[in-house]
């Protein structure tokens, strides 16, 4: 299950907005397509702010949540 942002390379237009807004610097542009820099870094980021998903104009980034009930 996705615990880091999922990037659709087909939709990514390389604008770099997500890289700019990422508060834990987990995203990087590689060959004009965004990638998660290293999975470890995103795991270490405590925020999961989803800003990258919010700013993406093409819907190329998906930050999903699982929904659980606290006992």
């Amino acid at each position: 299950m996705a615990k880091i942002p999922i990037i659709d390379r087909n939709k990514c237009n390389g604008c770099g907005l997500c890289v700019e807004v990422c508060s834990c610097q987990a995203l990087v542009l590689v060959d004009n397509t965004v990638e998660v820099r290293e999975k470890r870094e995103c795991h270490q980021c405590t925020k999961w702010c989803t800003m990258c998903e919010m700013v993406c104009t093409t819907g190329a980034i998906q930050c999903s949540f699982e929904v659980v009930t606290e006992e």
């Binding site: 999961w48 930050c63 999903s64 009930t69």
Partner: protein, 223 residues
């Protein structure tokens, strides 16, 4: 004459004015009594006067093309209505109907300019009243759009929490937005509101329902 005096005492427009200023304003005012159910002004007609409620309650409302009525606010003693289109020029933005027997004071649009020019303190009060009106409108917009979305978001969370087999589903905010029929930004705000109210807790890539009972209530679904 008694009604005019009451008007001046009750209304925020006239706060802080001395007796001389109040006397000059009083001369320009008119009085009106309205029976329950009577419409005082109609939305879309030329705005001709500002009204101040002396006694009773006035419903200020808009009507949609399919006949649905949206109450903007209830004007009670001391409250004014029809201010904005009179000051701004143009048509009545809403209709106003007496929902009780109502006594009103009014100032005609034609006389307003002269009154304001002669009373700087009144002009200052007008700004304050209009600012409060803007705050009321913002709050109404929030109630109309935001609260309903929060209820739908609550329902989505309940429906997508782990099932009886312990299977957990994953949703993006965009997916939630599509399911709720709203914009992605509203989902984020709704989740934050639910968290602030202690109904859920937002963790890294996880939404934890911490008060299921309350969420059920917000969602308006059966337990």
């Amino acid at each position: 004459m008694v009604a005019k005096v009451d008007c001046l005492r009750l209304s925020a427009y006239f706060s802080g004015l001395d007796s001389e200023e109040l006397d000059s304003i009083r001369e320009h005012m008119f009085e009106k009594s309205v029976a329950r159910g009577e419409v005082i002004i109609f939305e879309g007609e030329p705005a001709t006067a500002i009204y101040i409620v002396i006694s009773g309650v006035v419903k200020v409302f808009k009507t949609s093309t399919d006949g649905k009525e949206q109450i903007i606010y209830l004007a009670r003693p001391g409250d004014s209505f029809n201010d904005v289109p009179v000051f701004g020029g143009g048509l009545n933005l809403a209709s106003a109907e007496a929902i009780t027997q109502v006594n009103l004071c009014g100032i005609k649009k034609d006389e307003l300019k002269a009154i304001l020019l002669g009373n700087p303190k009144l002009a200052e009060n007008v700004l304050k009243v209009l600012s409060q009106r803007v705050e009321q409108m913002v709050s109404l917009v929030e109630d109309l759009s935001f609260r309903r979305v929060t209820g739908r978001v609550a329902k989505i969370l309940l429906e997508n929490a782990e099932d009886t087999n312990g299977q957990r589903h994953r949703l993006t905010q965009q997916e939630m937005a599509a399911m709720a029929g709203t914009a992605r930004e509203m989902i984020g705000r709704s989740l934050k509101l639910l968290e602030d109210e202690g109904k859920v807790r937002l963790e890294r890539n996880r939404i934890v329902i911490t008060d299921k009972k309350a969420l059920v209530e917000i969602a308006g679904v059966g337990a």
